[in-house]
């Protein structure tokens, strides 16, 4: 188990664990830790849009759909406190991670979430 704390937005908003990048997405349908690469062909899921009227993210490369409910309910356990998020990665070791930055689509960066 690896517990990592990273930024919700801006610099350091991407954590790469075992070679796989993750970001924290805030959508109108809920928030979750999002694999930044699409499971289909590795497209930039961090730039995905929410499909109108449906709880799915649409990858910009091949329009592969990913369930938002699945990410929120069965995804990586995490908690956001203000502008930082702490996530627990089950299959990771303390020496196999790094942080960076990835831009988020307007549907994922929290700007559409009214608080």
């Amino acid at each position: 188990m690896l517990v990592l704390t990273f930024a919700v937005s801006g610099a350091g908003n991407c954590v790469e664990v075992g070679g796989a990048p993750f970001v924290y997405a805030r959508t109108t349908l809920g928030s979750f830790v999002l694999p930044a690469r699409c499971s289909h062909r590795g497209g930039p899921l961090h730039l995905a849009r929410v499909e109108p009227g449906r709880a799915r993210l649409i990858c910009p490369w091949h329009e592969q759909a990913t369930s938002v409910k699945r990410l929120a309910r069965t995804g990586i356990p995490a908690v956001r406190r203000g502008e930082v998020v702490t996530a627990v990665f089950a299959d990771a070791t303390p020496d196999n991670w790094s942080t960076g930055h990835l831009p988020l689509s307007p549907d994922l960066d929290g700007t559409s979430v009214s608080v």
Binding site: V33, R73, G75, P77, R81, G82, A87, V88, V115
Partner: protein
């Protein structure tokens, strides 16, 4: 003929809430005081009912509003409501206070408090819904990894501790700091006791062990509140409950009331456990630093046993909270309760940060008394030149009129037209303001005043941001 009643949750309209809050606070126990401090009367608390009718408790405060006056008023109300569940007696006997005792614990007082409590809690703690968000599939293993990760954090001195060390008057700042702990430490573990009533298995009994420690195993001299009283006495502070009521910051009560809020509302039991683990674990290092800080400020005469005791016992309590309470209750109740545990852990962090920043700002405000007084001249000049057009309140008050402590939601300028005012910015912190003088009153900073001439005529200019008045 069947009758099927429709269940409606209890909720007051805005008008009903305003009336009920005023009804509760108009109790003679809660009116303004003529002195800065209460005198061995645990039932007297200044709630400033005259202002309540202007406040809207129906909406949730945001993070940026949490130090506004509405929050201070709500926290004073909540402290009073929660503490009517606890038993307090005056140190020097009843005398005339017997009537106050009966009033404080009367069904009327308690029922009126209960009516407004849910709305006040939503108003005060609702911002945490936005500040903390739990997601994903949590398991027992991921929860344990998450909680144990706290042990890897490198403890740093808080902003409050740094503010005391760097204060122009560290002893005054340290006394103000100790005063902030009184709502929590004098009835320590009382919120926790709310959770050990009932019947729910081995966790209940293990939790009781923590309480036994806090209560000094039934030996009064070792009860933690007794140890804290010794600390207060050793640095020249009074130990009668809420003697220093007017010097509590809203965030200090926010922190202490949070545990009452979680303990009073049993549906928040799991959140309480998360917050408990955080506080018990981090208290070890905090208490070590606190003991050192108090000794460095006051010398060896400061009795820091309260803090050194916690360095020892909270090492056990942090472990017990995890291994004897949290993990067993997850085993008993299932992983569905984990998000609430995580939420409580993180919520307490948010509140601790709010309190830390608030206290440090208050010390800066207290130390800055001469600066704020000197700022009167250029700000007053700016107002006269029309740089800012601010609402003005004209006031005339007689000798001895005490403006009980409060704060404002924006910067204000106090301008003395005639007479003398003693302007108080915190415990043992004041400036004397004469005719033609005044002071800038910073947003959210606790303050009060007393008139020291036969009459004082003064103005309050609500400038919003005093810097706008400067050229």
């Amino acid at each position: 003929m069947n009758f099927s009643p429709v269940y409606q949750p209890f909720e007051l309209s805005a008008e009903q809430l305003r009336e009920a809050a005023l009804h509760f606070a108009s109790n003679p126990l809660y009116l303004d005081n003529e002195e800065w401090e209460n005198d061995d009367n645990p039932y007297r608390r200044q709630l400033r009912p005259q202002v309540l009718q202007h406040l809207d408790f129906t909406k949730k405060l945001s993070r940026s509003e949490i130090l506004n006056y509405e929050s201070l008023a709500a926290q004073r109300l909540l402290t009073t409501i929660y503490e009517s569940d606890l038993m307090f007696l005056p140190q020097s006997g009843f005398g005339e206070k017997y009537e106050d005792f009966k009033r404080f614990y009367s069904s009327t007082n308690r029922a009126l408090g209960e009516m407004i409590r849910p709305a006040l809690e939503r108003h005060s703690f609702g911002f945490l819904d936005d500040e903390v968000e739990v997601t994903g599939k949590w398991t027992r293993a991921s929860l344990e990894a998450f909680l144990r990760d706290l042990e890897n954090e490198q403890p740093q001195p808080s902003l409050a501790e740094t503010a005391i060390e760097k204060s122009s008057d560290p002893a005054r700042a340290a006394r103000m700091w100790l005063i902030q702990f009184i709502p929590d430490f004098m009835s320590e573990a009382s919120p926790m006791i709310r959770n050990v009533m009932g019947h729910y298995g081995p966790v209940q009994s293990d939790w009781f062990k923590v309480i036994i420690d806090e209560y000094g195993y039934g030996v009064h001299d070792t009860k933690h509140s007794t140890l804290f009283e010794n600390t207060l006495s050793s640095v020249g502070l009074r130990t009668d409950l809420h003697h220093y009521w007017q010097y509590y910051l809203s965030s200090s009560m926010l922190l202490s009331n949070y545990f009452h809020y979680l303990g009073k509302n049993h549906e928040l039991l799991f959140r309480y456990l998360g917050a408990l683990y955080y506080t018990e674990t981090t208290l070890v290092d905090f208490c070590r630093r606190a003991a050192n800080l108090l000794t460095s400020v006051f010398g060896e005469e400061a009795d820091v046993t309260y803090f050194t005791e916690h360095v020892h016992i909270d090492t056990h309590h942090g472990r017990m909270a995890l291994e004897k309470l949290i993990l067993p209750i997850v085993d008993a109740c299932g992983e569905a309760v984990i998000p609430e545990i995580v939420r409580g852990f993180e919520e307490f962090k948010v509140l601790a940060q709010v309190n830390d920043e608030d206290f440090a700002a208050q010390i800066e405000w207290m130390d800055g008394g001469p600066t704020n007084k000197a700022l009167h001249e250029p700000v007053w000049e700016g107002i006269q030149q029309g740089r800012v057009t601010a609402p003005i309140a004209d006031l005339i008050e007689p000798r001895g009129e005490l403006s009980n402590t409060h704060c404002h939601n924006g910067d204000e300028l106090c301008h003395i037209v005639s007479g003398t005012m003693k302007f108080v910015a915190g415990f043992n912190s004041h400036q004397i303001l004469e005719a033609g003088q005044g002071t800038v009153i910073r947003k959210n900073r606790l303050h009060g005043a007393i008139i020291e001439s036969e009459e004082c005529v003064y103005q309050i200019h609500s400038v919003g941001d005093y810097r706008a008045c400067l050229s």
